[in-house]
Amino acid sequence: MPRFWLRDLYYRRLRVVLTVLGVALLSMLILLLGGIMNGLRWQAQRYVRFVGADAWISKERSGGVFVGFTLLDPEDVVPLVQAFGRGVMDERVGVSPLIFAHARPVVTIGGVERQVKAVVVGYRAGKLGGPSHRDLVRGRLFVPSPEVYSPEQRVELEAVVDESLGVEIGQSIEIGGYAVTVVGIVRDMMFVFDTPLIFMDIRAAQETVLENVLYVNTFLVKAAPGHTAEELVARLNDPDRGLRSVRAVEVHTSEETIETILTNYVTEPMRGVQFLRVMLWLTAALIVGMISYVTTMEKTQELGVMKAIGADNRYVLQMVLLQVLLTSVVGVALGVALALIAAPAFPIFVLVDPLEGLTVSLLSVLMCLLGGSFAAWRATRVDPMIAFRGEL
């Protein structure tokens, strides 16, 4: 049984193939741009989720450890946190000090020295903030420094690094002029923009990135069993009776912290990308619209004859829209396939989310239909007199 609208498409197959390719390319770009944002979003949350703290304590109005700068004195803050958190915070984990500092370590890869971007994370082994030995892909954790500080104590400058840094166990990396030995490797420990994390003992971090000042950036606390993160944060944050009543600090849940990171590193900077995506959608609609329009104009004779022999507007509309639908569905499907193939080969981390891919595809098809609907409308306006007179 001949489907006449399909036969028509086949007749103009070269143009259809070109349209499909155009739509495919555009929807691939739309998906990849979305994938870049998804990747960023994933990286923005990855570390905070991995840490699993319930409360992040930072200096008041500092913006927090991820987007601003906060420096706190453990001798001053830790006893207060313990006092104010009593009953709501998990005493077994205690207060975890943390250093989170953007750095430019020098690494040697393939005999070539290079300065790369990284984040130095200083924490105490066994507390919150970094991997335990179970999280290692290979190697071991750094040798921990004693809890009680003594000036004579020599600190081992050792690090556990994300594999994306590209260095191997036993290699030395230079951080702030200090040689740090890589002793362990972790995987998928990244911050936004593919920044690998370098984990060190808190003391080693103080020595290398804080000029051995005994301050830290932030403290992490977990809620005691039976208490929620919100309770813990509310208690510490209480401006009258909480930690905040005696020290200029602010306390946030992990969710709030993630929200801050997302706003600063993804939502705001990616506005341009979002805009670009919208432009690409419009371009897809325009391409399909233009080609369907030109095709319709070229077919006025045929359309006129069909209308003369009784085709009504519904018939004509359906014919054009089915053609546009098929063309755009095939184009978008091809675009999805291309995006999936291209994503791993992309120079930055791209996360193509299948559900988002589906929504994006539907939207792209919708945009194409929108573009084609003008041509379809134009087709219904063709005067059947054309059948008698030729071009009017």
């Binding site: 006449f4 086949y10 007749y11 003369a308 009784g310 085709a311 018939y315 059947p384 059948a387 007179r389």
Partner: protein
């Protein structure tokens, strides 16, 4: 015999003001069921315009058309396609077959438009093409057919939905005289088989003997009527003959 198509005061202007052309000028016409009428006249006298008006393709400026007992709904253009596909068949001078469809599919397209699909459509289309003597050309495309064959496919397509009346605008203009003669033989046969009323616009004097009635047009008006069988010529402008039965 009953009247299938009737035009009352049918008029069509084109353009406005100084440039206004009266293509069809207050034409009264009645065509009876089963008739084969030919419409003749000089170029530009309004023949094409008249049959487009009668077939519901063009909207008259004045007057009305009654087709198969139903006044054409020119005031509701959305209803016209139904009339065209159910009651009217058209054959065009330039054939206007769809180039990428075979003869069979071109006929099936007309059926598809009327909602007849699948095996039923295929059977009916094949049967029609057989009637026009093209059973050996079912799967040829228009480009692979001669002019005469193309025009036969056009007739098959026009007859696909069993129209009450078939309008053909210079169907023989692109055919040689032998092909034209054959086509007219075929048209007469088809009229017998389908009991269809046929209106043909033509310039070919030699085809006149095939007609039951020949209407001559000049300047948008029907000015003379001929009945070849009865050797009768009536001048419409002659007040004496105004009472002619098939004219109002």
């Amino acid at each position: 015999m009953s009247v299938v198509v009737e035009g009352i005061g049918v008029t069509r202007y084109f353009g406005m003001g100084e440039a206004r052309v009266t293509a069809v000028d207050h034409v009264d016409i009645a065509i009876e069921s089963g008739e084969l009428v030919m419409l003749m006249g000089d170029s530009g006298c309004g023949k094409t315009t008249l049959i487009s008006l009668l077939g519901g393709i063009l909207t008259p400026s004045e007057g009305k058309v009654i087709l198969d007992g139903e006044e054409l709904p020119f005031h509701r253009p959305a209803l016209l396609p139904r009339v065209r596909r159910e009651k009217v068949g058209f054959v065009f001078q330039m054939f206007h077959l769809i180039p990428y469809l075979t003869a069979l599919e071109n006929v099936m397209l007309a059926l598809d438009i009327a909602g007849v699909r699948g095996a039923e459509a295929r059977r009916r289309a094949a049967e029609l093409l057989d009637r026009v003597g093209l059973s050996h050309r079912l799967h040829h495309r228009p480009a692979q057919l001669s002019g005469g064959e193309k025009q036969r496919v056009s007739f098959a397509r026009a007859l696909a939905n069993r129209p009450k009346v078939l309008f053909a605008d210079e169907p023989t203009a692109n055919l040689d005289s032998r092909q034209s003669e054959n086509l007219l033989e075929l048209v007469r046969e088809l009229r017998e088989q389908h009991a269809t009323t046929i209106v043909i616009v033509t310039h070919h004097e030699s085809l006149k003997p095939h007609a039951d009635r020949i209407l001559h047009m000049r300047d948008g008006r029907i000015v003379q009527e001929e009945r070849p069988a009865e050797n009768e010529v009536a001048s419409i402008d002659d007040p004496e003959k105004r009472e002619y039965p098939s004219l109002r």
